[in-house]
Each structure stands twice: as structure tokens, then as C-alpha cells.
Amino acid sequence: MVTAGIDVGVKTVKAVIVKDNEIVASGIASSDGFERAKAAEQLYNQVLQQAGISASDVDYVIATGSGKMDVSFANNNVVEPVADVEGALRLCPSAKTLIEMGAEQVRVAKFDETGKVANYTLNQMCGAGLGMFAESMARALGVTLDELNEMALRSKGAEPINAECGVYAGLDVVSLIHNNTPKEDIARAVIDAIATKVKATANLTNIDDDNIVLLGGVAKNKGVVDALNRKLGVECMIPEQPEMAGALGAALIGAREVQ
């Protein structure tokens, strides 16, 4: 049996093909702004090629992500937290809590070993702690996101900035620049703000265990991960491709649906 999961986010689209419960192909591409339907289709074709199969060989396609309704070739769709949990359990079987950090959303879910979600929450209106915020701050400092993370790791400490509102956080960063604060410390302040916001969101789900897995593109940012580990007081687990969990989960759910 072959199933596919497509995760269409604000910045990137991810696709995974699962055959008989094993991952046989995966890929990630830019969502391309308004053209994300096209981007999803193109990526899907690429991973099909990677897997050496054609669309007709796929039994079921499930879409997830904020753009899931744009995936016209999907048989069905599933909400992100449910796909994330499924993917998280496959990637880190001992996980009991996941924190998914994407471009414009942070999701936290608590679940049991069967994948039943006990509690979840997500950031809503106000969001300093997001991937897009990190990128815009990196641009303001004239560095890439990776450089921002590395600079943060070199800093010894930073003045905290507003972690609730991206607009006010931005103003705080401007102030730090005016005050000739070293770039590393500004980077650290930004990264800490992201981690703070993520932790504040996570606090709404009664996190009380050490088995936390980090997912989403932002989980690849070393600075953010370091800050989050510090703030949560645990060493979070990070799978090899944390941004693929949603697509993987969708594909696995598809397999169950077919059965």
C-alpha cells in the first residue's frame, strides 16, 4: 500500500510517500506565496519521481497544513496537530509532548502512546515567537537566519525584549541597535523572545514531562533550540527532519484510512 502526505505551510510545502509503512521518498520546497497549489503539485511530482512511482500507484493522499484545502489532488485532509502527533510518534516513539514551530504558528500537543491527543494549544493572534518574526529580525540585522542563530549562541546574555507582540519586539530591537548593543546580544534577545513565546504557549497545555519533541522548520534553528531547552529545563528531542513530521503523519493516517 502506498500513501502520500502533503503539508502545505505558509513558507514551505513538504511531501512524504510511505509504502508499506516505510518512508520511500520525501521532499521540501518553497510554497511560493500565492502559488502554493502549484508548488504542492510540483513537489508531489518530484517525490513521486524520487520514489520511482506514478500518481496512480498511490492509494491515498492526505493533505495537511494551512494550505491543505489548496491541494486539489488530495483524497482528504487532516488538521495539523493530528498529523503532527502521528508523525511525532513515528519519529520519536517515546515522545509525549510535541512543540511544532513553524513560520506563523506554534502548536503544542500532549498525547499518549496511541496518538490520542489529550490537550493542545496554539498561538493565536499575537506572535513574536514565530519563524517569520525570526526572519524579519535577521533581515533587520543584515544576517541570515542561520547566522542569527549562531550569533545568539555566542552571546553571553541579553536584555529581554517583548515576547508577546512582533511589532513591539521589533521596536525593542531597534532600541537595542540604537544603543549599540553587540549584534550577538541582539540576536540572543530575539532568539530568547521566540523561545519565551513558545514556552508561554506550551504552558497552556500543562506540560509536565521530559519527553518533548520539537518539530517544524524552526526546530532546526540551533539558537532557538538551545534557548528553549534552557527555558523548559529539559533536553528536547529533535528528529532528523523535524519539518517533515506533518507530511509523514498525514501519509500514515492515510494508510490507516485505506485499511
Binding site: 493530528v82 493542545y120 494549544t121 493565536q124 493572534m125 497552556l204 500543562n206
Partner: protein, 449 residues
């Protein structure tokens, strides 16, 4: 979306009271517009003792800003946004409650939500609602219209019952009634007719008792009346001051119809299989979310916004508190002072600030208990609680109470909305995703035939 088959279908019928409710509401707004011709004083501002004093004068029509603003949000996004924009342009902060942004904007643009101009108010009477953010709206409205205004207070203490304090706060409230009557007499040149008011008060209590009976019937499975439909009548006779005689008749009709539906197992929603409850005003611009939930067979059952909290009986049933009118021998209401005191007691004003609806009143512990009681009484499987941005009065115990429910294993979903009266910032897709997640995490999928 992943789907399931419907396990059961209940019989359902259209609501017979619907047309009458709609007619009453429409008449209310017609009367607002026709006040001048009818030589009736149109009174702006809201809450406070003046709201119920219409029958004692016979020539007053009160227009409360909240339901107007809710109607604005419900009627048209573009109109609501235009009003909000006008208010912000005047320098009012964008973080004001959406009702205020809408309503002030309607005054500034001179556009009524049902079309035409905003009827000019003759007077403004504003009470200090339990939401302390509203009294200033009355100030602003009075200044806008440049008309006489009157302001009353509402307060209560938190803590253990204290007889002296209760007497003092109740006296404040009773004094507000008398002061308001005096002011209205002066401002309108009309003598207060205490007999007519007392008659109306008895009718009002009967209406409230009928409301209680209806709420009791919502504990039935299947629920005879879903909350989305109930919103059509929720504020009639209270925030929307429809004619007391017709309102009483309407509630008799609703009670009788609900009784019939309970006796015959007629459901409000045919595929009811999951019951959830809520509190506080919903996002009026997005009431479709109730119907969206019904695609899962999830039906919203009651809200404290009705103003009725059921009490558990020794036999395990849940009943609405008895209205004072059934204790005729205990209540001798003859004078306006008697009326003021009795009304204060009935409206739960003065004394301990507790019970009531919403986060306006109770502390987190009590609010949690109220919600837990609702879950038990109405046999609910989950709770959905809004976090209204800038709706401070609505939400100050909301998060804490919801967390406590979760600690007790009750599924709770908090969602952020801009404000019941204001669509700005509202992410429809995210809200629907949240609802989907809330359902899926409880093993529910959308139903198909």
C-alpha cells in the same frame, strides 16, 4: 476532512416561535426609528436600573449599545469595519472593545445597521455594568448627542457573605433605582406610575421563570433547542427591551413548544451526538461556527448568557431557582421603594459579586464551578470558551476556569477572537482548524449520511 457515518438521527422540526421572535425584534428597531413620531423618548446608554423602567413611564424606548453593536457585526463586515475605522480615526484606541468601536462608529458615520440614519437619542442613561469598561461609553454617547445624561453604579464585594456589607451594597442599588426614577421624571416630565411598573415587574418575573423552565428542558437528550437558535430570543426583554406583554407571550410559546419537543424527543439538531456548552457572547460575525460544529454532530447547549444557572436537586435533577413571585406572601410590593428593593434582589445586584453570567462576576474558582455544574446539568462532553480580545470583562476568569476544567478531564477549547462585535484580526481558517482539531482529538469526524 476525515468522515464518519451518523450513528443516529433524531427527529427534528422547524421552530414555531421563530417567526414571532423575529417580528418582536424587528418591531423593537422600528420603534427605535419611529420614536420621534410616536412621541416616545429614545434613551441611549445601557445597563443599569433604567432598562426596566419603561412600563412605569409608558413613553420611553431604551436602546442598549451592545445588541446594536452585535447586530452591526452580524449584519455586515464592511459596515462594521467602516464604523470601527471612523472610531479609530477619532483617536479612540484600537484596543477598545469591539462593541464600543462599532457603536461609536455608528454614531460618527450616522448609519444605523438596518439602514438609514442613527435615530437621535433624547437622553442617555448609563449604568455601571459589571463590565467596568462600559460606563464611559455612556459618557461619550451623551456628549455626542449633547443631551442630558444620568449615570448609575453597580458594585458588589467578593468574599464570604457579610450581612452588613450586603445591606449597604443593596441599598446603593436600590437608591440607584429611586434616583433614576426621579431623574427620568424630571427629564421627561412624566410621572412614574408605580402600579404599572409593579404589574410589569410581576410579568418580568414570570418571563424569567419561563426562561428558567426552558433552560431546564435543555438538559433533555436530545436537546430541543440548540444555542444558535436560542440566540434569536436570548436578549429579548432584557438587553433588547421588547414589549413586556408580547415578550411574556413569546416565552409562554417557547416554553410550551419546548415541552412538546421534550415529550416527543424532537431535537434541535438531528445528528446530535456530542454536547458542548459555552459562555459569554459568541463572535456575532461568525455564528456559522455553530453550524460548522453540527457537521460533527456537536451541538451547543445553553450558555450562562441566558442569565439562568441551574441548581442540583437532591434527586439529581437540575432546576432553575424559583422566582420570588411564587412567594407572594413574602413580597409585598406597593410603593416605588418596595419595587426598588425587590428589583435589586431579583436582579442579583448589590451584595456579593458572584453568580451572574460570564467572567463579569465570579472569581476563577466560582466560575469554574459554574461551568462544571453546566457540564453536569446539560450532560456536556466538552466546553468551548472564547477569549475576546479587548473584552476584558468577559474573560478575566475564562482562561483559569478553563484550565481547571481541563485538570478535571473535561475537554476544553479556548479560542481567541477579536471581539464579539469586531471581525478585525479574526482568522476564520484558524478557528475552523481549531474546531476540527478539538473534534478529532476526541475521536469525532464530520458526519455523512
Amino acid at each position: 476532512m476525515l468522515i464518519q457515518k451518523a450513528a443516529q438521527k433524531w427527529e427534528t422540526r422547524p421552530l414555531e416561535f421563530w417567526a414571532k421572535a423575529k417580528e418582536l425584534r424587528a418591531k423593537f428597531y422600528q420603534d427605535e426609528k419611529g420614536a420621534k413620531e410616536q412621541r416616545v423618548f429614545l434613551i441611549g446608554g445601557g445597563d443599569g436600573p433604567q432598562q426596566g423602567l419603561g412600563p412605569g413611564f409608558g413613553n420611553l424606548h431604551f436602546v442598549h449599545p451592545h445588541p446594536e453593536a452585535a447586530s452591526m457585526a452580524n449584519t455586515s463586515d464592511s459596515y462594521s469595519r467602516e464604523c470601527r475605522g471612523a472610531t479609530e480615526a477619532c483617536g479612540y484606541g484600537r484596543n477598545l472593545c469591539g462593541y464600543q468601536l462599532d457603536y461609536i462608529g455608528a454614531l460618527l458615520t450616522n448609519k444605523h445597521f438596518s439602514g438609514g440614519e442613527m435615530p437621535r437619542r433624547d437622553l442617555v442613561a448609563q449604568g455601571n455594568d459589571l463590565c467596568a469598561m462600559f460606563p464611559k461609553l455612556g459618557q461619550l454617547e451623551a456628549e455626542f448627542w449633547d443631551v442630558p445624561d444620568h449615570h448609575t453604579d453597580a458594585t458588589g464585594y467578593y468574599g464570604d457573605w457579610d450581612e452588613e456589607r450586603s445591606k449597604a451594597t443593596a441599598k446603593l442599588m436600590a437608591d440607584q433605582y429611586l434616583g433614576t426614577i426621579e431623574w427620568l421624571e424630571k427629564a421627561t416630565g412624566t410621572e412614574f406610575n408605580v402600579e404599572a411598573q409593579i404589574e410589569s415587574m410581576k410579568r418580568q418575573r414570570h418571563t424569567q421563570a419561563l426562561r428558567g423552565e426552558v433552560i431546564e428542558m435543555l438538559t433533555h437528550v436530545p436537546c430541543p433547542l440548540d444555542q444558535k437558535s436560542a440566540y434569536s430570543v436570548l436578549v429579548l426583554g432584557s438587553l433588547v427591551g421588547t414589549d413586556p406583554v408580547e415578550t411574556e407571550k413569546l416565552w409562554v410559546m417557547i416554553r410550551d413548544e419546548m415541552q412538546w419537543r421534550v415529550d416527543n424527543n424532537i431535537a434541535g439538531v438531528a445528528n446530535e451526538r456530542y454536547r458542548w456548552t459555552e459562555n459569554e457572547p459568541p463572535p456575532w460575525f461568525f455564528l456559522k461556527y455553530y453550524r460548522y460544529m453540527e457537521e460533527y454532530g456537536a451541538v451547543c447547549i445553553q450558555t450562562f448568557y441566558h442569565g439562568v444557572r441551574l441548581v442540583e436537586q437532591p434527586d439529581g435533577t437540575w432546576k432553575a431557582p424559583k422566582m420570588p413571585e411564587v412567594r407572594e406572601d413574602a413580597i409585598k410590593i406597593k410603593t416605588k421603594e418596595d419595587f426598588a428593593r425587590a428589583q435589586t434582589g431579583m436582579m442579583g445586584m448589590g451584595g456579593r459579586r458572584s453568580s451572574g453570567w460570564g467572567g463579569h462576576g465570579p472569581m476563577p474558582g466560582e466560575y469554574y464551578q459554574n461551568l462544571m455544574n453546566a457540564v453536569k446539568a446539560f450532560k456536556c462532553d466538552g466546553v468551548i470558551l472564547p477569549l475576546h480580545r479587548a473584552g476584558i470583562g468577559c474573560v478575566f476568569s475564562m482562561r483559569a476556569a478553563g484550565m481547571k476544567l481541563m485538570e478535571q478531564g473535561i475537554p476544553v477549547m479556548h479560542y481567541e477572537t477579536s471581539h464579539p462585535g469586531d471581525r478585525t484580526d479574526f482568522d476564520e481558517l484558524r478557528m475552523l482548524d481549531q474546531l476540527d482539531t478539538f473534534m478529532e482529538m476526541q475521536g469525532l469526524r464530520k458526519l455523512v449520511d
